[in-house]
Subunit: 138 residues, 2 copies
DNA sequence: CTGCATCCCGCTCGATACTG
DNA sequence: CAGTATCGAGCGGGATGCAG
């Protein structure tokens, strides 16, 4: 396990920021991805996450530990060393993330296009229709 | 379309409130589900959503309309009538919701169990290990 | 290195009241 | 019926500083 984590694996320019799916808290899903290849240390996790504050990362990790998604192992060394590793339950989230990625690949462009269309043409917003007497289409 | 919506289709007692997956904003996923059987009116949607405030529901619907997930059709009648209907893109979210449900069915109990265990036994929290010299078991 | 404490900001969500 | 307007509370989340 493991090559160092790519600092840009969560490039903020990537339109995934507009993705309508989220796993747990803001960072939970990304932490899962970071731990895919094996155990990681605290500071190691901070790199690809765009320099999350220690406080927030701790909160996230504690919550995930509490929910049985990962295990925390502290080694009584100097300097201190702590490793986080996914549990079976945590790895089970991969299927979900895969589904989210598949959806994004197939449909996110359409969503972004619709969004862009609304921003450029806020001129045709409220369409009113005379009440159709009957037999509505569809 | 459509029997009236079950007011308890999102029973807050259901543990899905602990589900680590979310579609868009807080209410987006539930709106999608409410529109599964066909077009619905504004007030009709408010019922199963636990009486969401009109303001919040409007925000949600506007955002979804902007993203091309649903269409808004206002009929110039008296009293006014507006119907919301999923687009193809909106319906594409069903696969995602299905994946989330499958995960919940298979793994949510384990998550809840882990959570309960931590609440009842906060006594074994910080396990420290003497640094293992080498060859850590995976 | 790890991670807790404190302060604070912004955003989401909600309650209430009012309009076409 | 279908919203809009205004106000406010709560909370996630970030900055900074400090401790084991």
């Amino acid at each position: 396990m493991a090559n160092p984590l790519d600092p840009e694996m969560f490039d903020p320019i990537c339109p995934s920021s507009a993705m309508p799916i989220q796993i747990g808290d803001k960072w939970t899903g990304m932490v899962v991805l970071c731990l895919e290849e094996g155990p990681r240390r605290f500071t190691e996790l901070r790199v690809p996450l765009g320099g999350v504050t220690p406080k927030v990362l701790t909160q996230t990790l504690r919550a995930m530990e509490r929910d049985g998604l990962l295990t925390r192992t502290a080694y009584d060394e100097n300097p201190p060393r702590v490793e986080y590793e996914l549990t079976e339950l945590g790895r089970s989230l991969f299927s979900l993330i895969a589904a989210a990625r598949a959806w994004s690949r197939d449909h996110l462009p359409a969503l972004l296009a619709a969004r862009a269309a609304h921003e450029s043409a806020p001129a045709a917003p409220r369409l009113l229709r005379r009440s159709p007497p009957s037999g509505p289409g569809r």
